[in-house]
Symmetry: C2
């Protein structure tokens, strides 16, 4: 869904089994762009994607926000005929309230993905899957009830990975990663250049480094394009204040769907 | 293992199936203390524990570091007699190099916990589990090979939950949670009081708020006790600069095992 939102439905989709495979596909030139989830509005960061960004030469060249919509998908035409529900544990958790109100005491079978759940519900009578509309269309199965998730605020943010940074649009974001020295006030000093230049940090996230226990990389997203004067000055000053810094990319701001 | 390290082996252990159950057990007075994982040195935060700390009235009254040691546990006495390995997916991932070198091409069966794996390996011939020594002793099974994890730096940090904050020891830490207003430089301004007072932040972690999409709570750990003059001044000043602040607790610094 993220790929179609960003690139349109006529682009060639190459599904990969894992986030690592998406990185490798783009690195080896088999795909021009890759799309990986980086953050969910209720669950937080996708750790593997952040960790791979530190070592990969790929650039973040876009961001995509997708509102997560779960629907009840089944061969049956009446919700009363459903005895059993398939879905991924996270989707089941996100629809728990709806299930308790509308389909209490049904057997729940966990699957490895919501797509797998939809496929299985297509093969069996008296069953339903919790999944998305695209999977329902793909397997040619009915959507019985739309939007059954409990929270209206559930979105996932994706990064587009490419070999180059796209041109400035005037409404851009920049993502960086850095490591601070182990002295009091070092993170404060790292954020100072951005505050002095009036740059809005939209996110700051820490991840443990793999090399040394209990040390952290910080991931920061901010408004602005990498060649904007104020942003350039802030990043140049940051270089003097941190042990490691990497610019991950600059890209057009994605359109949020949850406002 | 964390409970035994902190409270000794004579304390009464009450196992609970989930982190939420541990919180509730202490809140309802069924247990005096609870122990929950909050952070792993390679995998990062335990999201559920952080989210529950925001709303719970419990205090963080201790921290415990445990080095993760995986061992090969089996009824067999020779590694050559092993056809099949049970373990939790995370433990399997953490021993992948060792398995490839020493037990290549064996069937690997994923279990819900390493304790469950050890139990199963105790019931079947020609099988081994990857798990910890306590489980091996509990089920009376041999440890065939000790410390088979690939990385020597793999530790988990636990919080002790209680109804009160313990007394000052002189080597303490304090944990807080706060939310910054949505203006440029607000996180920088939130960290300033700590930098000015020379307080060492040992960790800063962000978690999405459940109420509003793409807004974050920050979790900060720092050196010092909550009534120390400088720390008290810094937190008082922080109150003027943030939308929400909660002191989660003050507690004696835990002893790390990975140095």
């Amino acid at each position: 869904m993220a790929v179609i939102k960003q690139f349109g439905s006529s682009c060639k989709l190459v599904p990969e089994p894992s986030i690592l495979d998406v990185f490798q596909d783009v690195e080896r030139g088999r795909s021009k762009f890759g799309v990986v989830p980086v953050e969910n509005s209720s669950e937080g960061s996708v750790n593997l994607a952040l960790d791979l960004l530190i070592t990969s030469d790929l650039k973040v060249s876009g961001e995509i926000y997708i509102k997560i919509i779960h629907s009840l998908i089944s061969r049956e035409e009446d919700i009363k005929d459903i005895d059993c529900i398939f879905s991924h544990p996270q989707a089941i958790a996100q629809c728990r309230g709806w299930i308790q109100r509308n389909l209490p005491a049904r057997e729940i079978i966990e699957t490895s993905s919501t797509a797998e759940a939809v496929k299985m519900a297509g093969q069996k009578k008296r069953c339903a899957a919790i999944g998305n509309e695209i999977a329902a269309h793909h397997y040619g199965i009915n959507i019985l009830v739309r939007e059954i998730q409990d929270s209206p605020f559930n979105s996932t943010r994706f990064f587009v990975l490419g070999k180059e940074i796209p041109e400035r649009t005037g409404r851009d974001k920049t993502s960086i990663c850095f490591t601070t020295p182990h002295i009091p006030g070092s993170l404060y000093r790292a954020l100072e250049p951005f505050a002095l230049e009036g740059i809005n940090l939209t996110r700051l996230e820490s991840r443990p480094t793999r090399e040394r226990p209990w040390e952290y990389h910080f991931f920061a997203d901010m408004e602005g394009y990498i060649t904007d004067e104020r942003l350039k000055r802030a990043i140049e000053e940051l270089r003097n204040r941190v042990e490691f810094i990497k610019v991950l990319g600059s890209y057009p701001m994605g359109e949020r769907e949850d406002k």
